[in-house]
């Protein structure tokens, strides 16, 4: 029942944009007018994105193919894919990738589950709904660096309440506890992002479907998995896409909490070190492009996995 309604709602616009166009053959005047309108509507967004991002992205790709170290400005030369070879054969890259994947998988997983629960709470709670929505979103509003300092002091022995609570432990001095705290800080900070996106998806689930299912005797869990989740697919996809892309590029939290010590450096920390500390623009740019490729693969997997729920997918076939 739920899927047929979804299909009808999604497919309807492509079949009949408006009644008078409906009768005309494909690529009619109406279709051409649609195209023109679409180009006009997209133009401002496309122009701004190209104006700001095209040259910097192209320049980064160009740099990644050069031997270019600001310490030796006269030794610049084209080296093809050598920088990529150097990065991919380096143990540092693979250690950073391992750490980044661990942080991404765990934080996004926790955030999806907690965020879903939080979204349900923000949507349905019986009292204090406005208060809950506002309070729940605060962590995402705090400047990341300041929030990270809060965690850092809390876990510093003799200085913080959390360290004191756990026998004055110093968890930020070894790898696994450090990663756990980085993930904790990340989850606390960005679950509201996930929850807000899921909340907007929840707001689109037609209430009468749920009511009908309740009348038919569906349990809470059945209503959630058979009606709510399928209808929220587009919102879940967007939340997963942007959150995992951000999690994979984690920087601020690690920078403040461990500064990459004890093998907790992520790929972004590694890229930053090469670009801004070692001033090796060639290697640093190659790392950036590799980060980009990893995130792009991740995004492609999500989009492929969600199929028809991807933005724009309903009209292209």
């Amino acid at each position: 029942m739920s899927t047929s309604t979804e299909a009808a709602a999604v497919a309807a616009p492509s079949e009949a944009p408006t009644s008078h166009r409906h009768k005309k053959p494909p690529l009619s005047e109406g279709a051409r007018a649609d195209r023109k309108l679409a180009f006009l509507l997209c133009a401002p967004a496309v122009i701004v994105m190209i104006a700001v991002a095209a040259y910097p992205i192209g320049y980064a790709v160009y740099l990644s193919l050069q031997k270019y170290n600001l310490a030796f400005p006269n030794a610049v030369k084209f080296v093809g894919l050598d920088n990529y070879g150097a990065v991919l054969t380096s143990a540092y890259w693979w250690q950073a990738l391992k750490v980044t994947v661990i942080i991404t998988v765990f934080s996004v997983l926790f955030e999806l589950v907690i965020g879903m629960a939080l979204a349900e709470l923000m949507f349905r709670t019986l009292f204090g709904r406005g208060l809950i929505r506002t309070i729940a979103l605060i962590p995402y509003g705090i400047v990341t660096v300041a929030a990270a300092y809060g965690w850092l002091y809390a876990w510093t022995p003799n200085e913080g309440y959390l360290s004191a609570l756990f026998n004055n432990s110093a968890p930020l001095t070894s790898t696994v506890p450090s990663l756990a705290i980085i993930i904790l800080a990340e989850v606390w900070k960005t679950t509201p992002f996930m929850a807000l996106l899921l909340l907007s998806g929840l707001a689109q689930v037609p209430g009468d479907l749920e009511k009908a299912a309740r009348v038919d005797g569906a349990t809470v869990w059945q209503r959630f998995t058979r009606i709510t989740l399928p209808l929220m697919k587009p919102a879940i996809l967007v939340a997963l896409l942007f959150r995992s892309a951000d999690a994979f590029r984690i920087f601020d939290n690690i920078y403040v909490l461990t500064d990459g010590g004890n093998n907790t450096y992520s790929v972004s920390i590694l890229g930053y070190d090469n670009l801004f500390n070692a001033l090796n623009l060639g290697i640093g740019s190659a790392i950036s492009i590799l980060i980009f490729i990893c995130v792009a693969i991740m995004a492609a997997v999500f989009i492929w996995g969600f199929g028809a729920a991807a933005p724009g997918a309903n009209l292209t076939r």
């Binding site: 994105m49 995402y140 890229g271 740019s285 933005p311 009209l315």
Partner: protein, 280 residues
Amino acid sequence: MAAAATTTTRQKVGWGAGNTAAIVIVAIPLLWIVSLSFKTPAAITDPSFWPAQWTWGNYSGILTTATFVRPLLNSIGIGLIATFIAVAFASMAAYAVARLAFPGKRLLVAGALLVSIFPQISLVTPLYNIERVLKLFNTWPGLILPYVAFGLPMAVYILAAFFQQIPWQLEKAAKVDGATPWQAFTKVIAPLAAPGMVTSAILVFMFCWNEFLFAISLTSTLGARTAPAALAFFSGSSQFTTPTGPIAAAAVVITIPIIIFVSVFQRRIVSGLTSGAVKG
């Protein structure tokens, strides 16, 4: 509503427990930062949760200097303008993506994602060079432009996903019932689209508000520096102490406009007419 009539005590207790859990989880780390902001420089390393001695010193310190107040105003101006432009442009593009057939749609959707997932550490230096040449460096537009560009992709995705789920047949139904196109838009479609627009506006505003890398690289004076970037220029009571108290106080102050922004706009995230509006 029928649901309200059938509310049981058990449901009340359940949702109450949920509310409490959410508030406690958010509040404890938050109150720790608030507590740090009220501690004296000497007590900042005291592990007790609350300050033994409360002081307003950190707040009066940051609020009486232009090094924080001016950036706060910059943040508000830049954030609001960038959010407005990004959401307006994104709504137009998202409508086209969700509703119209046109060549290059996949390219647009993929290209927007490309822009938003490219590591920004690589983009800072070339952007800095361009802005120097175009005299945009250290100006409001110099930050607004990149914020719009990097806020747009997320807003387009949120809104396109949202617009796809809107039952657009309602627009036709309203017209059949005698509504003008304008009435059909303002009375039927706009209320349905509002939650998506508000969601993207909140998230774009928060992105602009917290953005650090561009803010610190593309500004050089108080004329355009935003609040998070200003944090980096705080100094401690002596050069050997980290300015933890002032940073915590500034974090609290920076968070207040976000709370106001969210509490005003969250009301719009409700089910629109969808409930009971579509029959098959």
